[in-house]
């Protein structure tokens, strides 16, 4: 296995001792097939144990390890060193407050997830003894893509709208609302509209499309938001131009 020396710069910040973050550089002997996360764990194990970062699964599914790698939001466990030059700059995800080193504060994101009511609000009450719902493969496919979000928040780090207007509910939470709206078992769209079809919701999105470009799971939150805009617009027309169409 071939080894390669990579210079890894990490943005360090410890609120107890630092006024502002600063870059610190490490020279890391890397294996060719490593991902960026491997280089960082190498630093932690062998060079500097004080570097703080989050990770767990090392298989791009837990969503912990998002970082800015050379200025681009990425999952560090799925960013292969072979795709990068011999110098890599690693920073905490953009647009989020830095808690410490590469660890960012997620409270705002968690609150927004909660706000869109991301759970089935049943169309009709059904108990377990009534058995399962029928849901055709086509009905499943209608929302399946939007269930794939791993909450890695790369999309928030990419979205300039979120950076400029922190009240914006943002891509992942909105895609999740859309996921439940499209589920054949759900009847909660109207409740979610109160949160989503607002100035902090879909109408804050100017369709930069950055979220969908960086999403590691091809969720396409930008698409979801545009679909919600169209649906909300149709709602508006129905309500104002065809009041009889509403029950």
């Amino acid at each position: 296995m071939s080894e390669r020396q990579v210079e890894v710069e990490i943005l360090r910040y410890d609120p107890e001792t630092d006024q502002a973050p600063k870059l610190q550089s490490y020279s890391v002997p890397c294996q060719e097939e490593w991902v960026v996360l491997d280089a960082i764990t190498y630093i932690k194990d062998h060079i500097d144990t004080t570097v703080s970062f989050r990770w767990s699964c090392h298989m791009a599914v837990c969503g912990s390890c998002g970082m800015m790698v050379n200025g681009e939001p990425a999952l560090s466990c799925k960013s292969f060193l072979r795709d990068y030059p011999d110098k890599i700059r690693i920073e905490p995800l953009a647009h989020f407050p830095i808690v410490r080193d590469l660890v960012v504060q997620l409270d705002d994101f968690m609150e927004k997830l909660n706000r869109v009511k991301p759970y089935i609000i049943p169309k009709e009450k059904k108990s377990v003894s009534d058995g399962q719902h029928k849901q055709s493969p086509a009905q499943l496919k209608a929302f399946k893509q939007y269930t794939l979000c791993i909450n890695c928040t790369l999309c928030y780090a990419a979205c300039p709208q979120y950076g400029l207007v922190p009240d914006f509910i943002g891509p992942a939470a909105m895609a999740l609302a859309h996921r439940y709206n499209l589920d054949s078992r759900d009847g909660g769209r109207e409740q979610r509209q109160e949160v989503v079809a607002t100035d902090e919701g879909v109408w804050e999105c100017s369709f930069v499309g950055a979220c969908s470009e960086v999403c590691p799971k091809q969720v396409d939150p930008a698409g979801a938001i545009q679909q919600m805009k169209i649906a909300s617009t149709v709602d508006w027309y129905k309500e104002h131009l065809m009041p009889w169409s509403k029950p």
Partner: protein
């Protein structure tokens, strides 16, 4: 006692220079300015039309200036660029599910282009070309 989380402020006016993706976005948004102006010109023309033949003649006259022709060319190019950039994202914004599968992106984009051509032909036909 532990200190506070560090907030990186985004530069309010120059943020879009920081990434090619943002520059592309701003370019797309900028293309709609000439389209907006063109629409204003069109409305102004309608107004002149309602004011009688002489006013209309004057409006047509004004359109004939080199500057105006240049502007219309620019507006046309921007409109095309803007339209193409929007048509390209229609498959994710307007998904069409047929049976289990979604209609392929090319079909949805193609349908938009077809619609565009058809509407243009109708307009040209009505304009007597």
């Amino acid at each position: 006692m532990s200190g506070k989380a560090y907030i990186r402020e985004m530069p309010k006016t120059t943020w879009w220079l920081s990434h090619s993706r943002y520059r592309r976005y701003v370019a797309r948004e900028v293309t709609c300015i000439p389209i907006g102006i063109y629409t204003a010109v069109l409305i102004w023309g309608l107004m002149r039309l309602s004011q009688g033949a002489a006013a209309w003649e004057g409006f047509i006259e004004a359109l004939n200036s080199p500057l105006s022709i240049l502007f219309h060319l620019v507006a046309f190019v921007f409109a095309v660029v803007h339209t193409i950039s929007w048509f390209n994202v229609t498959p994710s914004a307007m998904r069409v599910q047929i049976g289990e599968d979604f209609a392929p992106g090319a079909v949805i984009i193609g349908a938009h282009y077809t619609g565009w051509v058809v509407v243009s032909l109708i307009v040209l036909f009505m304009a007597g070309v």
